[in-house]
């Protein structure tokens, strides 16, 4: 239990997926204009990454390793994730329309989120079992949500600030992310 908690803290804060591993930068910079959309994106990411890391871990441990096909990892994972996102979208639409309406817009965007594939590959490289993979995936996704919501909050604040026009837009977003990355470096002492 203690080990799993440590894993969550490590993946969410210490090795934050966006700010220290640079995965999933595209939605991080793109969908962070407003807190609500950022939170929606974060929720969708938590949902998809947790399921995807579970499925990828099952495939890795019960199909690829017994058959000695680990070298097919990349191909299998990317296909499974793409299919999974489509599938999750269809199931949600049918079973939980309310949740679908809340997350629907963000789901297709996630197929192209490199964090999903990244986590699956990291789990496989570290030889995590099913439980550890799910916990690691969940922690990472929570870390993503924390980062994107914080960035959206800062962006809402600085939107009308008066600074040099050359720095308006993406340069200032990048500077903000850089400062956040420095702050997240401080979590390194936690573990």
């Amino acid at each position: 239990m203690k080990e799993l908690l440590l894993l969550i803290v490590a993946s969410a804060l210490v090795n934050n997926v966006v700010l220290s591993q640079f995965l999933g930068l595209c939605p991080f910079l793109g969908v962070s204009k407003k807190i609500e959309t950022a939170a929606g994106m974060g929720a969708a990411v938590v949902f998809v990454i947790t399921i995807a890391s579970a499925v990828a871990s099952l495939i890795q441990n019960f199909v690829l390793i017994p058959l000695k096909l680990e070298f097919l990892q990349t191909i299998v994972f990317i296909l499974v994730i793409a299919a999974l996102v489509q599938f999750v979208e269809m199931v949600l639409k049918k079973v939980m329309p309310a949740l679908y309406n809340a997350l629907g817009v963000y789901l297709p965007l996630i197929t192209t989120n490199c964090a999903v594939l990244g986590i699956a590959v990291i789990n496989a490289q570290k030889n995590y079992g099913l439980i550890n993979s799910i916990v690691n995936g969940f922690g990472t996704a929570v870390g993503f949500t924390i980062a994107i919501v914080l960035l959206a909050g800062v962006r809402e604040r600085i939107e009308f600030n008066d600074f040099n026009p050359s720095w308006k837009g993406s340069p200032m977003v990048l500077i903000t992310s850089g400062l956040m990355a420095i702050a997240f470096c401080g979590f390194a002492g936690l573990i």
Binding site: L19, S20, Q21, F22, L23, G24, L25, C26, P27, L29, G30, V31, K33, F71, L72, Q73, T74, I75, I78, L79, A82, L109, T111, T112, N113, C114, L117, G118, V121, I122, Q125, P165, S166, W167, K168, G169, S170, P171, M172, L174, I175, S177, G178, L179, A181, I182, C185
Partner: protein, 268 residues
């Protein structure tokens, strides 16, 4: 032959994937701690791009239109796996340095973007040259960013230390430094109004706001098309306006001339 050279020029300078199109930002930020890493990542991506472009161009008439994206992904993933195994076997140092970012070449939007927007419509040789051009553009960009970060952050050039340790700005080789370097780069591009994806005037009506740092994979190819279309329309509008103005001026002149002509008439 000329067309092939044009593809190279297009990839390296006119549509440089990093500096102009702002694609593939994740590996750009992650691996550019040193020039060597940037070079390794760039060359691996180039290899994948060339082979996948050629294969996709070769198979473009066989792949049904409806399943083209999954088919492209499978082709790209296979090529990436081959490159990964080759690196592991022959250049283990680069393999260890790049780590997880090698399998992630699959989701690099430059590759699917080129497959979708160029290789699926053009011949094999041109597509291969397009891959070489884009790949070299990416390599040069990564090496440059890596060079700057390594020089200022670790005081070395390709691993050889030339600046004494007291003068290192070591934050530049850490994670936050990547964001700062890229921020300076885009700010400079904005300052000098250089052609860049971050420079779309006034934002556009597209979901992502025309901000290409936010796009990835297939979405970006589509958005780029939309932006190009919007730009073309704007140019058309401007041209039409100019023409209308010119016509109005002409009409005015003609009217004046006519008035001038009629004046003496009236005087008579």
């Amino acid at each position: 032959m000329n067309k092939n050279i044009e593809r190279l020029y297009n990839g390296i300078i006119k549509e440089n994937p990093t500096f102009v199109l702002m694609l593939g930002m994740c590996p750009t930020l992650a691996v550019t701690v040193s020039a060597t890493n940037g070079l390794g990542m760039g060359l691996s991506t180039t290899a994948v791009l060339v082979v996948s472009n050629a294969l996709i161009s070769l198979l473009r008439k066989i792949i049904p239109d409806k399943v083209r994206i999954p088919a492209f992904i499978v082709i790209v993933a296979s090529v990436v796996t081959v490159v990964q195994l080759l690196l592991q076997a022959y250049v283990p140092a680069v393999y260890d340095a790049l780590g997880i970012y090698i399998p992630l070449i699959v989701v690099n939007c430059i590759i699917l973007g080129r497959a979708e927007s160029y290789a699926s419509k053009n011949g094999i040789v041109e597509s291969a040259f397009d891959g070489i051009g884009m790949g070299l553009g990416f390599t040069i960009a990564l090496t440059c960013i890596g060079f700057v970060r390594e020089l200022l952050g670790a005081g070395s050039v390709f691993g050889r230390v030339i600046i004494p340790e007291d003068f290192h700005i070591s934050i530049l080789v850490m994670a936050p430094g990547a964001f700062f370097v890229l921020a300076c780069l885009t700010a400079l591009q904005n300052k000098f109004k250089m052609p860049s994806a971050t420079n779309v005037a006034g934002g556009s009506s597209i979901v992502c706001g025309g901000n290409c740092t936010s796009c990835s994979e297939t979405v970006c190819a589509e958005n780029h098309k939309k932006i190009a279309a919007a730009k073309a329309e704007e140019a058309k509008k401007a041209a039409a306006e100019k023409a209308a103005k010119a016509e109005a001026a002409k009409a005015k002149k003609a009217a004046e001339a006519a008035a001038a002509e009629t004046k003496p008439d009236g005087n008579e």
